[in-house]
Symmetry: C2
DNA sequence: CACTCATGTGTACAGTCGTACACAATGTGT
DNA sequence: ACACATTGTGTACGACTGTACACATGAGTG
């Protein structure tokens, strides 16, 4: 139970996970990747794979965990940088887009996993999205921006927001990262989506059941 | 250039496409399917595949075409059955859910293809969604339900509607088709999403650029 | 009839797959 | 210093893969 002082503990593990992300950003789908292919990309012998993962789904699940970290970092940055309520949407979407560009492979993996082959990975990603929606609801409450909404209605609104942003994610992933014009189009369009949703939320009066 | 009277023209072709759908509904991802696996499921010899498709992506593209037919059938039924404007959302979502159940494998394929491996299939499905949004916009114009919206804003609203429904689709595909309770939950939640969006659209005044 | 054409079958091959096993290197606790 | 646990390597095997080729069938056309 002492400290590990190996030269590079878990180095191959990281190489394998990076290899998957790298293949995914090259256009491959996670479900079509095999152990040999991943180890080849990582520059390791196939047998090494089993030292760290039981199978590809196991690796995918651990990628979902790391994805969670990325998302939390993004949320923290958004919380630190969004001060004025009237720019809330623009700022948040901007941060989201830049994170999606900076961690393209992670978000690509996320988009794929939502309708992927492994139920466990699907559930993991869905759970991350639910957590995100909950945190968003907390923030809106804290900023007194949703006082007239019931808890259930606020939760629904945030859920819709997260889904819309997630769908914009698949738009982003469909274009090349360098196409500034298209990125800007998607950014603006996502902002308008969210504005529309928030206008709806602002005028939402016990219309729900 | 005369009429073909072969016993069963294109029979194997259909068997191959059905085989893919069948494998997809069993939980497999399209990107992970191989030619041999598909032909085995179809009860045909592997070489027969090439008589009808150049590769798996080609087959996928033709599945997208058939998916288009399914979507158009659904839209027609919605147009025929939705009379009163106040029940428009409930009726439409109900028709959507029942179609998604009846053609589960097609919609599963669609959900997968949105973030799939083949760019061509992605674009095909995206194009189907765009068509759908446009038709929806036409209907709303025709029913005089969006008179205060500019064309661009109406298009955006319909796009958001279609995206929200498409995301509900992945919810639907994640549960077992027999779980009536969960299906009902998703149905209700989708209705609330759309209601929120339409409330937003109703109060939308040149807030856009 | 013989022909062509579309379709389906059988065989074959080289490459890849997942994974089991024995072994080497190296850092850790006694 | 010793044995141990962890991590990485090399080899091996049977199953599966995509696809090329030659051939069989049967319908439509001359």
């Amino acid at each position: 139970m002492s400290e590990r002082k190996k030269r590079k503990p878990g180095e191959t593990r990281e190489k394998l996970m990076s290899a998957v992300l790298s293949l995914v950003s090259k256009g491959r789908h996670f479900a079509s990747l095999g152990i040999r292919e991943v180890t080849r990309q990582a520059g390791v012998v196939p047998t090494s794979f089993y030292r760290h993962f039981r199978n590809m789904d196991d690796l995918g699940l651990q990628l979902v965990d790391e994805l969670g970290l990325v998302l939390r970092r993004m949320m923290r940055e958004a919380r630190e940088n969004v001060f004025q309520a009237d720019k809330l949407i623009e700022e948040s979407v901007g941060i989201f887009v830049s994170h999606a560009q900076a961690n393209r492979s992670f978000f690509l993996f996320m988009a794929q996993g939502l309708a992927g082959e492994s139920r466990a990975i699907q559930d993991g990603i869905r759970s991350e999205m639910r957590y995100f929606a909950t945190e968003l609801a907390n923030d809106l409450r804290r900023l007194k921006l949703a006082d007239h909404l019931s808890d259930g209605d606020l939760e629904m609104t945030c859920d819709l927001v997260v889904r819309s942003v997630a769908f914009s994610l698949t738009d982003l992933m469909g274009i090349s990262a360098e196409d500034e014009y298209q990125v800007e189009q998607i950014r603006k369009r996502t902002c308008r989506f969210l504005q529309l949703i928030f206008v709806g939320a602002a005028h939402w009066d016990n219309k729900g059941p």
